[in-house]
Amino acid sequence: MKNIFQECVKGIIKENPTFVLALGLCPTLAVSISMINGLGMGAAATFVLVFSNIIISMIKGFVPNKIRIPCFIVVIATFVTITELLMKAYSPALNRALGIYVPLIVVNCMVLGRAEAFASKNNIWHSLFDGIGMGIGFTLALLLISGIRELAGAGKIFGLNIVKGFEPAAVIAMPSGALLVIGLLLGLFNVIKRRDK
């Protein structure tokens, strides 16, 4: 039981997919304009990650080694399609805000990376919790980045005005701001990592 707990926790800080493994950065940057978008993207990616991890660890025994990547991609694409349809039905506004980045979860290197590096080698339970942990880590990273960008770029948190008389730096809400913020955050994580050693 303790082992499973570790699988879950490692994705949050020690092997955080965004800051430590540097996986799946494209959607992270594109959707992190507001925290709502960040949360939606994180939830969608977590859903895909958890279920594709489960299925892949189930089929790992009888998928020939040579065609495993295409098989994994089909499994992932199936869950992405399910997410797309669910999002269109229940939250069309979020679907419009995330735009083409929802179908692009298929090529998110984080999902395929976990399938290849973890789920294809471990049993269902471990894969399930690995997926949950990684998903939470990804969501937290998204919330951190989008929180910084929404606060500095629009003066809001979750769409609510919180600072009065503050002139927001619009550049942070623009694409270049995303790149600057993630560059500085990665640098910060490097400093923290070095101090730990």
Binding site: A30, I100, L179, L184, L188, N190
Partner: protein, 202 residues
């Protein structure tokens, strides 16, 4: 169909909505392979080729398979499968018929399958040039042209970035920012300058 539309697509895809700097597609390869100019150029040409070809293929699939049978929700699955199969095919053919080219592209060709720029442009084409389940007039030409321009935009960003990073090798930079973090910050500043093209209208 007019020249102005093509010009708008060109300016928009290369500068304003540059695949890397504004849409954030293909960031992984952009950051990972932009340390030197030559591999960066090889990667860009490979990406440009694959984006163009896969846009052509996915246009036909969308127009003649997914729309008539009313199964457009299978877009993601069918596109990614076709792109993966196509990249594999190209790799085998190039290895067989043009070994020199194969060595030039090296490992970058298979990597392109998971480059989100390829799927991203295909999805974007099917969003932009199909309306209410029908192809807009000249939709095929627009799609292919937009794919070529997106590839050009990728090449432009890649060349600029690798040029800067080659010079940067000789500079003394803060240790914590070395490599990836600095790459993102440079890309951020580049993206800022590309914003100057915003509001370019015809």
């Amino acid at each position: 169909m007019s020249i102005a539309v093509f010009l708008t697509i060109f300016i928009s895809a290369v500068f304003i909505n540059n695949v890397i700097l504004s849409r954030f597609l293909g960031l992984c390869s952009f950051i990972a392979i932009s340390k030197q100019t030559k591999p960066a150029l090889a990667m860009s040409f490979a990406v440009m080729f694959v984006i163009t070809m896969s846009s052509i293929i996915t246009w036909f699939i969308y127009r003649f398979l997914l729309i008539p049978f009313n199964i457009t929700y299978l877009r993601t699955i069918s596109f990614i499968l076709v792109i993966a199969a196509f990249v594999q095919l190209v790799e085998m053919m190039i290895r067989k018929f043009a070994p020199a080219l194969y060595r030039f592209f090296g490992i970058y060709l298979p990597l392109i399958t998971v480059n989100c720029a390829v799927l991203g442009v295909a999805v974007l084409n099917s969003d932009m040039f199909f309306a209410q389940g029908k192809a807009v007039p000249a939709s095929f030409l627009y799609s292919v042209f937009q794919a070529v321009c997106a590839g050009l935009g990728f090449t432009l960003a890649m060349l600029l970035m690798s040029g800067i990073r080659e010079r940067l090798e000789l500079c003394d930079v803060p240790k914590a920012l070395k490599d990836f973090p600095l790459g993102f910050i440079i890309a951020g500043i580049m993206s800022l300058s590309f914003m100057g093209f915003n509001g370019f209208k015809f």
